[in-house]
C-alpha cells in the first residue's frame, strides 16, 4: 500500500502499534481541513509493527500530548518535500488540558473553568499527579 509523500507538513513516525488512533484523537487531527493519513500496523525493522501519521499541512503540534502518550515517537517537519527537522519526544514535566482528573472529590470536578493540570512526579514510572488533589492520572 502506498501513501503519497507530503510536500509541506508533518510526519509522526515510530508510533507504538495501536496508539495511532489515540494520538489522532488527542491531537484533534479529525478537525483539520487538510489531508491526514493514519497508517496502522506498518512494517518496521526496529519495532516490528508501528503506526504512522502524516499531516499535509505545517500545523503546530502539541508535543506534550505526544511525549505523554508515546515518548518514543519521531516528529519530522517536511518543507518543500525535504525533511528539515527531526524531533524526539521526551516526557513533559507538566500536562495542561491533556487528561482529566477522575477524582470526584477534586475541585476540578465541580469548577468547570479550571484547567486540568498534572505534574510529572516520577519519570521512571511515568507517573503524573493532579496538581490540585495529587491523584494519579
Amino acid at each position: 500500500m502506498n501513501i503519497d509523500s507530503i510536500k509541506n507538513g508533518i510526519v509522526i513516525d515510530h508510533i507504538t502499534a495501536g496508539k495511532g488512533m489515540e494520538i489522532h484523537r488527542l491531537l484533534g487531527l479529525g478537525n483539520l481541513d487538510c489531508m491526514v493519513a493514519l497508517i496502522t500496523s506498518a512494517n518496521s525493522e526496529k519495532m516490528g509493527r508501528k503506526d504512522i501519521i502524516k499531516i499535509d499541512a505545517p500545523i503546530e503540534l502539541d508535543t506534550d500530548v505526544l511525549g505523554y502518550v508515546d515518548p518514543g515517537v519521531t516528529v519530522s517537519i517536511i518543507r518543500d518535500g525535504e525533511t528539515v527537522e527531526k524531533k524526539k519526544m521526551t516526557l513533559p514535566d507538566e500536562l495542561e488540558g491533556v487528561v482529566r482528573c477522575r477524582n470526584p472529590r477534586c475541585i476540578t470536578s465541580t469548577e468547570q473553568e479550571l484547567t486540568h493540570i498534572f505534574k510529572l512526579v516520577n519519570p521512571a514510572k511515568r507517573e503524573y499527579r493532579c496538581i490540585y488533589c495529587e491523584t494519579k492520572v
Binding site: N103, R105, C106, I107, T108, S109, T110, E111, E113, L114, R129, C130, I131, Y132, C133, E134, T135, K136
Partner: protein, 308 residues
C-alpha cells in the same frame, strides 16, 4: 507555595521546610511564655475565615488566634451563606476576599480548592482542610504537641490508628514526621481504610520504616505516640460502609495497660467514640492540649505569613 503575585500560602505541611517548622514551633513556644508581647502584633489586620463546610475547632481556633494577636476576623462558616451557593468560583471568591482582608483561612470539601484560591488571591491563603487531602495547621498543632510532650521530633515510634485512607491529618503527620531521623510508623487500620498507595509508596521511597497491622493492642507496647482518628461519615459515599467500619477501634483504659508510661495519646478531634472518656484524665491523654497548641501554632503561622 508562592503564587504569581509573589504571595506565600500554606497548602501542605511539605510547603514548610524542617527549619521553618522549627521556627514556627519556637515562635509558638515564645507566644506561650510571653502572650502579652504578641497581643497587638496584628492590630489593623483582618483574617477571613472561608469555611465551605462545617468546623468548630479549626475555625474558632483561627479566630481565637487572630483575636489574641490583636487582629479582626470576617468570614462565613458554611457554603450556603456565601456566594458559592450562587455558583461563584473559588478563584473569584479568593480575588474578592483579597479586597477585604489581609489573610485567608479556607476549608473546603473539595480537594485542591485552597490551591485554586492561593493561585488567585493577592493575600496569603492557609489551607484549613480540603476534603480528605491536606490539613497542615492540624499537623502544626500535632507537631507542637509532640515537641512539648516528648522534647524532640526524632527517634520516635508513632502509631496511627483508625481511618488512614481518608484521614488527611494522618497523611500530613506522616509527611511531616518522615523528615526526622529515626522515626518509624505503625499503621493500624481495618483493611478497607489502609493508607492510600501514594502515601505508602512515598514512605518506601524515603526508606521510612513502617508496618501495617489491624491489631491495636499488639502494637501498643512499642509506641511512643498513639495518634487516634475518627472514621469520618462525610468521607463515605456509602452509608453502609461507614456503619460497618465506624467502631473498628475504640481506645479504652484496659487497652492502655500494656502501653508505655510515657505514651502520648493524640487525636485531631472531634472524637465520636473511638477514645473512651475514661481516658481523658489519664496523664497520657494529650488531645485537649493539642487543641490549645493548635491555636498557638496558628498564631505563629499568621505572623509568619503576614510578615509581622
Amino acid at each position: 507555595m508562592i503564587n504569581k503575585y509573589g504571595i506565600p500560602s500554606l497548602l501542605s505541611i511539605l510547603d514548610l521546610s524542617v527549619q521553618e517548622i522549627d521556627e514556627l514551633v519556637s515562635t509558638a513556644e515564645h507566644i506561650i511564655a510571653n502572650p502579652k508581647s504578641y497581643a497587638q502584633r496584628c492590630k489593623g489586620k483582618k483574617l477571613a475565615t472561608l469555611f465551605f463546610e462545617p468546623s468548630t475547632r479549626t475555625r474558632l481556633s483561627f479566630e481565637a488566634a487572630m483575636y489574641e494577636l490583636g487582629g479582626n476576623v470576617i468570614g462565613f462558616s458554611e457554603a450556603n451563606s456565601s456566594s458559592a451557593a450562587k455558583g461563584e468560583s473559588v478563584a473569584d471568591t479568593a480575588k474578592t476576599i483579597s479586597c477585604y482582608a489581609d489573610i485567608i483561612a479556607m476549608r473546603h470539601p473539595k480537594e485542591g480548592a485552597p490551591m485554586v484560591a492561593a493561585m488567585n488571591a493577592t493575600i496569603p491563603v492557609i489551607n484549613a482542610g480540603d476534603g480528605g487531602h491536606n490539613h497542615p495547621t492540624q499537623t502544626l498543632a500535632d507537631l507542637l504537641t509532640i515537641k512539648l510532650e516528648k522534647g524532640r521530633f526524632d527517634h520516635l515510634v508513632i502509631g496511627v490508628c483508625g481511618d488512614l485512607k481518608f484521614g488527611r491529618t494522618v497523611h500530613s503527620l506522616i509527611d511531616a514526621m518522615s523528615r526526622y531521623e529515626g522515626v518509624s510508623f505503625v499503621l493500624i487500620s481495618p483493611e478497607e481504610l489502609k493508607v492510600p498507595d501514594y502515601v505508602r509508596n512515598a514512605m518506601k521511597e524515603k526508606n521510612i520504616p513502617f508496618v501495617e497491622t489491624t491489631d491495636l493492642e499488639g502494637a501498643m507496647p512499642t509506641l511512643d505516640i498513639l495518634y487516634m482518628t475518627r472514621v469520618q461519615r462525610e468521607r463515605f459515599f456509602n452509608e453502609e460502609d461507614y456503619l460497618r467500619l465506624k467502631d473498628s477501634y475504640i481506645l479504652t483504659a484496659d487497652k492502655l495497660d500494656n502501653a508505655k508510661q510515657n505514651l502520648s495519646v493524640l487525636h485531631p478531634l472531634p472524637r465520636v467514640n473511638e477514645i473512651s472518656v475514661a481516658i481523658d484524665d489519664d496523664p497520657r491523654a494529650c488531645y485537649f492540649k493539642q487543641v490549645l497548641n493548635g491555636k498557638y501554632m496558628r498564631m505563629a503561622l499568621i505572623l509568619k505569613l503576614l510578615g509581622v
